[in-house]
């Protein structure tokens, strides 16, 4: 095994080349393998991914292509006592963020108290006027949040993003475990690993708890998908199947007398909860984008009248704005009167003139991100960019400072990942999922995403990232 570069924190090996606490067995196992066995494992993984049909869809030159899910066989370990603390931090954050969303659409106390600058919220395109005055059951706005966590060079954990619109990846988290069980059943012998497939029943219970009426039978929960051409269609189907729910497209639903129905072979059937995997711009032509073909006319009316629950609730994106991100620690203290358990990454808010000045001066060292995009698109990684790109971004920043934030380039932690038949350190992050409904619930671990290219910090699967099974171990 090649030695990890010293300026990064390797999660498996210490700087002196020894196994970290709790990682001894897996470390030993890795060192016993040779190139032939890695090749065998990787081939078995590739075959299993294809057979299990684990795919994601990419658009390329007007065509959509099903890609096999890029899976790396070496699992990532996190010790349970450490994870417990992290998951408390995740829950704390989710609770505060939901209270924040509920507040800004109603009392707006946090804005009046000037904890968060009012214009930052009210002038944001993510603030949906259509949602003002609404308060969903359990104040669960962002029912499903996917938080991106990273470790710095000292191994400290930070929250990098709170994905609160339609975060994806959880199906891959579950399938990654299935793959490891198939390919490396022997390495489970010496570890006690927390299961991950309880997510689906937790999701089902959370969604059920949002049901507006108390039906005698189980509530009718549907998963709303944009259709097979969406990159996460695999996951939509996976979750619908797991919950025993219908996977619906906009044209399968209609609204009559402010109630939502699905078109079935037996006629219209009432819908109680919609797990929405369609961007809110496209859910209702009456309320949002009028051109949408995916939407259901009148859905927002039905929701505001409390006839149907939508998860995540429209308007949740107001808290998933990288300009708001900087205030999350204050938001936690404001609503919960607690100290934030998880740290934020230092963030320069370009709308503040002095911070913009700093960013422009130091652009070659920073990561610049648009506040309103996800999927790793439209970002500048200073140290890996050309002077021309830096110039282009500087111009963008000056033009629309509100649209950007900047963060120091993080020395993301690494873990051995198979590359050309041998393990080599690659950067990674972790996306746990947190559910908010009648109670708050966090996955055991989450989806580990790993950059497959040497030195790369981009872990998104749409841009050449891979993934690993994540083990929470005793």
């Amino acid at each position: 095994m090649s030695k990890p570069e010293q300026r990064f924190y390797d999660e498996l090996t210490t700087s002196s080349g020894k196994a970290r606490a709790g990682c001894k067995t897996i470390h030993k196992w890795i060192s016993r393998q040779d190139q032939a066995s890695w090749n065998t494992y990787s081939a078995a993984a590739e075959l299993a991914v294809r057979e299990m049909g684990i795919s994601y869809t990419l658009y390329s030159e007007g065509e959509n292509i099903d890609r096999a899910w890029p899976f790396d066989v070496v699992p990532r370990l996190i010790r349970n006592h450490q994870w417990k603390k992290v998951s408390e931090g995740i829950k704390q954050r989710a609770k505060a963020l939901n209270l924040f969303i509920d507040d800004v659409y109603n009392e707006q106390a946090i804005l009046r108290d000037e904890v968060v600058p009012a214009p930052l919220v009210l002038d944001s395109p993510n603030f949906r006027h259509q949602c003002v005055g609404m308060s969903p059951k359990h104040r669960a706005w962002a029912t499903i949040i996917g938080m991106d966590l990273i470790r710095d060079e000292l191994g400290h954990i930070y929250v990098l993003e709170d994905n609160m619109r339609i975060p994806s990846g959880v199906a891959y988290m579950i399938e990654n475990r299935e793959l490891t069980k198939r390919i490396l059943p022997e390495i489970f012998e010496n570890h006690s690993v927390l299961p991950v497939d309880d997510y689906i029943s937790a999701l089902y219970e959370t969604l059920s708890s949002l049901s507006p009426s108390k039906p005698k039978t189980r509530p009718n929960i549907v998963v709303l998908t944009p259709g097979i051409y969406n990159s996460a269609y695999f996951e939509h189907a996976f979750l619908a199947q797991g919950m025993g729910s219908e996977l619906v497209e906009g044209s399968d639903l209609f609204v009559k007398d402010d109630e939502v129905f699905m078109r079935s072979v037996a006629g219209p059937v009432k819908v109680d909860v919609i797990y929405r995997r369609v961007d809110e711009d496209y859910i209702d032509p009456e309320a949002f984008n009028k051109e949408t073909m995916l939407g259901i006319s009148g859905l927002m009316r039905a929701w505001k009248k409390g006839k149907v629950a939508i998860a995540n609730a429209p308007g949740s994106g107001v808290a998933d704005d990288k300009a708001i991100y900087a205030y999350v620690p204050d938001i936690i203290t404001y609503y919960l009167n607690e100290k934030p358990i998880l740290k934020n990454v230092e963030t320069y808010q370009c709308w503040k003139p002095q911070e913009l000045e700093y960013v422009l001066k130091n652009i070659s060292k920073l990561v610049v991100k648009p506040v309103n995009q996800s999927g790793g698109y439209g970002i500048l990684i200073g140290p890996q960019s050309s002077p021309l790109e830096q110039k282009r971004f500087s111009a963008l920043l000056r033009e629309n400072p509100r649209d950007y934030i900047a963060q120091p380039t993080l020395a993301l932690s690494t873990i051995p990942t198979i590359s050309n038949g041998n393990p080599a350190p690659r950067h990674l992050d972790l996306r746990p999922f947190v559910l908010s409904g009648h109670k708050t619930w966090v996955t055991s671990g989450g989806l580990t995403r790993v950059a497959l290219k040497e030195g790369s910090l981009v872990v998104n699967s749409s841009q050449g990232g891979g993934s690993k099974d994540t083990w929470i171990v005793e």
Binding site: R50, M52, E246, R263, P268
Partner: protein
Amino acid sequence: MLSRVAEKLYWLARYLERAENTARLISIYNHLIMDIPKGSEPSWMILIDILDAREQFEYRYNSETEQNIHRFLIERSEEQCSVPYSILQAYENVRTTRDTLPQEAWEYISELRLYVIQYSKQSLARSKRLAFLDEIVQRCQMLTGLFHSSLSRDEVYSFLRIGKLVERADMGIRITDVGAQDIMDREGALKSIDQLLWGALLEALSAKSAYRRMKGPVVDKEDVIELIFQAERFPRSLTYCLRELRVELMRLPNSEASLKKAHKILRILKSYDSRQEVYLHEYNTNLQKLLRELGVSFSKTWFQRDGL
């Protein structure tokens, strides 16, 4: 169940059954040709005629060679009557209904699709063809078995079952129509191979052992047609398919119109009498027409989504 999903399930089952039946048909025909003395074997074009694809074939190829016909049926995934086309269609339908099916369904159909993509081009030679076709038949049956043994008997199952039965009945009529026509055309000319031809027809419908158990080893034309049309207990006979279809229809909402049509087909099947002079071709044409009408009735009742 969603109307959109019901329609996809129906077509999924039809394409799966069609792939299996087409593969079996080609395979049996290959066996038959090898059994018959050179010079008197029937034309390969019968395969194309059974699948009602003469026009399309002639558009694509100039000569009716064995090679071209197999390329058309085994290799060309864009041709609607080819085996790969049916598999790819079945795959697309599973892809969009997988949340209603057992988890393994997606796995099996993905594997089957990969198998077809990978091997269809290398399976044109006589030496490879049969193994390829047998594999297709087996894998289709595996999926059918999976549905049979793990699905609740709810609407998902009913729509799959209906699709399968309609497709099976359709193939039964096609094979009887073209196959029997060809045999009768040459009747008397080569009495010695008649047995072989009728036997092959039975095998194409997977009916040979059922026939032996019911009628004995001597293959007789009237008995064959009677079995295919009227056998009450043989799962590939038309009567059996329509009866089963009726059972499924009764489980589904608003099925009155479709039930009426199924009754009518059953009545016509019952009236078939091989001892009387019947024009088999006309009789078949009528059956085919009624079966198509039944499909239209499904579509009107369950699949169209504008009506609600």
